[in-house]
């Protein structure tokens, strides 16, 4: 069979992710870049890099599916689907028995109820960035730490501090008060992770917590939050090797399914123009 290729691009609030697969669902290339204000305009560059890595040109791609916060602003995409459906599809490809997925990204937190790879229901955090990746970035900056180091630091804790507020601004004050009160850094960080996990657990309980529980998104890279979630949910939490890719992979897989379904029905696939234009977020 002729090999055909599919791309999924997940333009998140913090990170832009691209996955390119073939019709056997083999991942040929993937990339994770900071979205940033400038990179939003340069989603096309990220796509170009991904194509280069896969040794393909844009004309080789049968279908480009966009997802994520910026999904409607990817000019070279053929279709767009929400990150809710894409995460569900992507996560189910890693963990076929997933029943509950939790994704905490830069801007929001989501809970997804999944059965046999299909999204059945979802919950999302409110518009406030409390308890998301952005929250951890702000707190890390307050503490003069790299966000990537928070997880390991928290594992050294012997008695986590109580952080009652999940509001980014108030939590910052609480952290400073704890430190000035002599509470060790690792206990404060562990307390923050517990606050995030507690808030997330309360939210996803509305969907019923049933294993397998899978955790994705940038915050899933933080081992401290993973442990705190396990404690709050009372069950093991699985994390894929690359937790940022589930949305982009899901997008590529859904693009593949759409294409193959159309081909099987003898229909023409509706694709957009194949020129790599700048993403127009703000225009």
């Amino acid at each position: 069979m002729v090999r055909i290729y599919f791309a999924g691009i997940d333009l998140g609030s913090t990170m832009t992710k691209i996955v390119i697969i073939d019709n056997d669902e083999q991942i040929l290339a993937y990339l994770v870049h900071h979205t940033g204000a400038e990179h939003r305009h340069l989603a096309n560059r990220v796509m170009e890099e991904g194509l280069e890595k896969a040794s393909l040109s844009i004309d080789d791609i049968s279908f480009v599916m966009a997802t994520g916060y910026g999904r409607i602003n990817v000019p070279f995409s053929d279709h767009q689907v929400t990150e809710l459906s894409c995460h569900a599809r992507g996560i189910a490809s890693f963990f076929p028995n997933v029943h509950l997925a939790i994704d905490i990204g830069g801007q929001d937190a989501k809970g997804l109820k999944i059965r046999e790879g299909k999204l059945l229901d979802f919950v999302m955090s409110d518009k406030c960035a409390a308890g998301t990746g952005r929250f951890l970035e702000v707190i890390a900056a307050t503490l003069g730490l790299e966000v990537e180091d928070l997880g390991d630091i928290s594992l050294r804790s012997t008695q986590k501090a109580s952080v009652s507020s999940i509001c980014t601004v108030f939590a910052q004050q609480e952290v400073v008060n704890h430190l000035s009160g002599g509470i060790p850094l690792e206990d404060v960080v562990a307390g923050l992770h517990d606050a995030i996990a507690g808030r997330t657990a309360r939210m996803v309980r509305r969907l019923k917590v049933e294993p397998d529980v899978v955790f994705t998104g940038g915050v899933a890279k933080n081992i401290g939050v993973v442990r705190a979630l396990e404690e709050n949910l009372g069950c093991p939490v699985l994390v894929p090797e690359e937790p940022l890719l589930s949305g982009a992979l899901g997008a590529a897989l859904l693009g593949k399914e759409l294409t193959l379904k159309a081909l099987a029905a003898g229909e023409t696939i509706q694709t957009g123009k194949r020129r790599l234009d700048k993403a127009t977020f703000f225009e």
């Binding site: 916060y69 689907v81 929400t82 990150e83 809710l84 459906s85 929001d108 999204l119 059945l120 229901d121 979802f122 999302m124 518009k127």
Partner: protein, 389 residues
């Protein structure tokens, strides 16, 4: 001189500048009566040739003045209404009629009286339950209201005048239902956005002018070739006030048509007629207390039955939504509420339980009554459509 616009265009014009006609009528000597919510009995205004004019908020106008009188944890719609009043946007009103729609709405009527100071005001303390005694109380309150309006105008509200007013308002109800009939087709002949424009327009006009407008819209829409396109999903929207098209635009900008609603700038005030009883106040009190299905009135199967059964109660309270979904072929329901609207908020779990029990998917969205903050809901609604699609 240019021909006056008609039909949908006229509805859009009134939607965008809704006080224009009321101010014009006031200059011609008419009395304009502001009313809050859909419970002040409009027939009694019409009977004395008073123009009813619904007080609404403006989700595109930041609330800057009302915060001095109402805390930010109060319903933003009602705060917006007061804010517009304080900014003089309702200065053309001769009076205001309020009811006990909810505690905040009731408090607002008092705050309005000593801050906005509209010349005439009357408050109807509408009961919240359907006991027989509640009905007697509502009738008594309407007798007081009748006297208040008679004193205000210096005219007698005769039974004949009141019966004629009921007839014209019932005609409006029939016309609105006729308009909603046109939404049963696929694609619907009129969109959710246009429906809000029409209903908001008729709530800003004297009833006979409103009736004329709906007639024009119906005949225009029946003939149109530029109606809403076919979409994958047909949705029913239930909830608190939507007096701006932004929320509907967000939904209808996706792969869905809003084919039916149960909201108060929508179908809610128009789906039952007032019975023409010998004493018109009997029919009016029954209609306004019992027929209008707003969560502000608590409806259970039987107050005297102590063996409460939740699912049976849900059927009594919400089976009309099943009928709407069936008759308008809705694939799912969007439940929406303005943040801090306890009245609708308390009903949401029950409505969802009922819809779950009859297999109709639903999603609940709580919004801030600001146009700019609607973007995050796009993902939720699109995700919902992907699930039900």
């Amino acid at each position: 001189m240019a021909e006056p616009s008609k039909g949908l265009l006229r509805a859009q014009e009134i939607y965008q500048d809704r006080s224009h006609r009321a101010i014009e009528l006031r200059e011609q000597g008419k009395k304009i009566m502001g009313y809050l919510c859909i419970y002040p009995v409009l027939e009694m205004m019409t009977a004395l040739d008073i123009v009813p004019y619904r007080i609404l908020g403006d989700m595109r106008e930041p609330i800057t003045r009302a915060d001095s009188y109402m805390p930010a944890v109060n319903c933003p719609f009602l705060r917006s209404c007061l804010d517009l009043g304080l900014k003089g946007k309702y200065s053309f009103l001769d009076g205001i009629v309020t009811t006990h729609i909810c505690d905040v709405g009731s408090s607002l009527s008092g705050i309005w009286n000593y801050t906005v100071r509209t010349p005439f005001s009357h408050h109807i303390d509408t009961p919240h339950t359907l006991h027989e005694t509640s009905l007697q109380q509502e009738k008594g309150l309407l007798q007081d209201y009748r006297k208040a309006l008679e004193n205000f105008t210096g005219q007698k509200m005769t039974t004949e005048k009141l019966k004629e007013a009921i007839r014209v308002h019932n005609e409006q109800r029939v016309l609105v239902r006729g308009l909603y009939e046109l939404k049963k087709q696929d694609p619907p002949l009129i969109s959710g956005v246009e429906t809000i424009q029409v209903i908001k327009a008729i709530q800003s006009l004297p009833v006979d002018e409103g009736n004329e407008l709906i007639r024009e819209v119906i005949s225009e829409v029946k003939e149109r070739s530029d109606g809403p396109p076919h979409k994958s999903a047909r949705l029913l929207v239930w909830g608190s006030i939507l007096d701006d098209t932004a929320f509907m635009e967000m939904i209808e900008g996706l792969d869905a048509n809003v084919v039916m609603d149960d909201t108060c700038v929508g179908s809610r005030a128009y789906f039952d007629d007032v019975e023409l009883t010998d004493d018109p106040l009997d029919g009016l009190s029954r209609h306004y207390l019992m027929d209008i299905k707003c969560p502000r009135t608590f409806r259970t199967r039987d107050y005297n039955d102590v063996r409460k059964d939740y699912m049976t109660d849900l059927g009594v309270r919400f089976s009309y939504l099943r009928d709407y979904a069936r008759d308008w072929k809705a694939d799912g329901v969007i439940l929406e509420s303005v943040r801090y609207c306890d009245t609708h908020g308390y009903d949401v779990p029950s409505v969802r339980d009922y819809l779950d029990s009859i297999g109709i998917p639903s999603i609940y969205l709580e919004h801030d009554y600001t146009e700019g903050a609607l973007a995050p809901f796009r993902t939720r609604v699109q995700g919902f459509l992907e699930i039900i699609g």
